[in-house]
Symmetry: C2
Subunit: 141 residues, 2 copies
């Protein structure tokens, strides 16, 4: 995939992304997520931040329909600074420790908050996104 350097850098460093899934009936869902971008894949964990349940809709959606979209963007009141990177791809849930452990380690390395909450022991399912298409845009051109 031919992706601009600034866009790869933004994917690697942005602190929050928004993940969109859709259920079988085509109802989209969008949620803010912490994530790590490692070796071309995007990982996001169901962490111990308070939630109603770990049986999250995003997981049901992915089980029913693996197509997802994720965006990282820069908001600024100066619209000449706006930028976004949009990833479309396929999501799956990592089931083996062989896959989970390095993904969780990348999340802990990126977010000191995860180290503090001992993500490695407390994480629920880990979502892995394989990008099929990346579109990047910035006002600055």
């Amino acid at each position: 995939m031919d992706v601009a350097t600034w866009a790869v850098e933004m994917l690697a460093t942005a602190r929050v992304a928004r993940l969109a899934t859709a259920d079988r009936a085509g109802q989209p869902l969008v949620v803010p997520v912490c994530y790590a971008f490692v070796d071309g894949r995007i990982y996001s964990a169901v962490d111990a931040k308070p939630k109603r349940t770990r049986e999250l809709r995003r997981l049901r959606d992915i089980a029913d329909n693996p197509r997802v979209s994720l965006v990282v963007d820069v908001w600024d009141e100066d619209w000449a600074r706006l930028a976004w990177v949009l990833v479309e791809g396929t999501a799956g849930i990592l089931t083996t420790d062989l896959e989970r452990t390095p993904a969780l380690a990348a999340l802990v390395a990126k977010y000191p908050q995860y180290a503090a909450m001992d993500l490695l022991s407390t994480a629920g399912p880990v979502i892995a996104i394989t990008p099929a298409r990346v579109v990047a845009w910035r006002a600055a051109g």
Copy 2:
């Protein structure tokens, strides 16, 4: 709908939202959007910010499948300050000036940037979202 006051306030004042649509095949799309929340509905315009085309995918998606999801959230490195408001609903395109004009006026009132680019004369299609369900969460409880 029973929505917490802080969540309504956040919907009214947040500067950027992320809008998820899905096409007929269930492929989600998520994009950052400027929006105005007026009388219980959410409006977003295809504005004159540079884009490849105004025949945007979000518009095709909505024509094919009116179900959308929109989130406004607060990101903070202190995760005790995280919050989000998620809206699920039905989107349509406003076609008459009777509907477009007040929606565009609300966008111009919220964003001085739109006044500067003369949104009223330059806007393309205006998306209107009617919420069916609002879910709000914040770490602070």
